[in-house]
């Protein structure tokens, strides 16, 4: 139970950080952390199919696509 509470707190903190950070690269890293903890959650709830989809998409592809988009636009939010 306490482990699940820890995971929930971590995921909430990372999600709020992803919204509030002005440095978009750091926000992307926070979003990657959200995806990681979410995948762990699906795993704990014994849904390995969904956990695997979240892992395959969230580990490499979304981070890289966000990073490329930041390269094309700008790193800091006004």
């Amino acid at each position: 139970m306490i482990y699940i509470a820890l995971l929930v707190v971590g995921m909430l903190g990372a999600g709020i950080a992803a919204c509030l950070l002005r440095d978009l690269l750091a926000a992307v890293v926070a979003a990657a952390a959200v995806s990681l903890i979410l995948s762990g959650f699906f795993y704990l709830l014994q849904a390995p199919d969904v956990a695997m989809a979240e892992a395959a998409i969230g580990a490499g592809l979304t981070t890289a696509i966000f990073v490329i988009a930041i390269r094309k636009t700008g790193r800091h939010e006004e």
């Binding site: 390995p48 199919d49 956990a51 695997m52 989809a53 395959a56 998409i57 580990a59 490499g60 592809l61 890289a64 696509i65 490329i68 988009a69 094309k72």
Partner: protein, 228 residues
Amino acid sequence: MRAFIGFVALSLIAVGLALALYHIPFGQDRMDVARDYLARSVRDTGAPNVVTGIVVNYRALDTLGEVTVLFSASLGVGMLMTWRSPGGGRPLPGASLIVRRGAGFLFPFILLFGGYIFVHGHLTPGGGFQGGAVIASAFLLLYLGIPGYLLARRPLAAIESLTGITFVAIGIIGLAVGGYFLNNFLPKGSVFSLFSAGVIPILYMVIGLKVGAELAGVVANMIGGGEE
């Protein structure tokens, strides 16, 4: 001011969700359909993985829709980003020797792993979408490790189109043989063996190749896009 409005809207949504979910007891199945699927799926489809049985057999038409959505998203990215040399002609600093060699060494293994995931989609967790994402990640690794790498566009488009046609063709054969679209017309085989579950492995291979080609196309378009 904008942050305040956003906060109010978010709390309204949260209160609404809490009110709506308050009366539903947690952890009990509220629907008979789930129990029905669990009881019948293995016998009907021949796939021990119930999720696969639902996604590619009972709800295969919805899967066709999903693949189409992904296709149009890839098309949109391709229309927004033009196909040009990486970085818009700006010379890119090369990756170090370790990254280059590592990317080249790991690439075939990651491709093989993606293939393993979608071929074994009816036996183990995972399937076409997951395997396709893994294959696209392999190409992304090449882009990251080897600056100036360009994916050949023509085979990519050919794979996308051919797999889409194959999906629909399997559906129409099912319509001709069994009376409804995407009917599982092949013999089921014995449960837990690789060649079993009728058309499910074939459909998952088709979906995996299609998703992999589409996501790799998205990555290629994003990286190779112009800078104007």
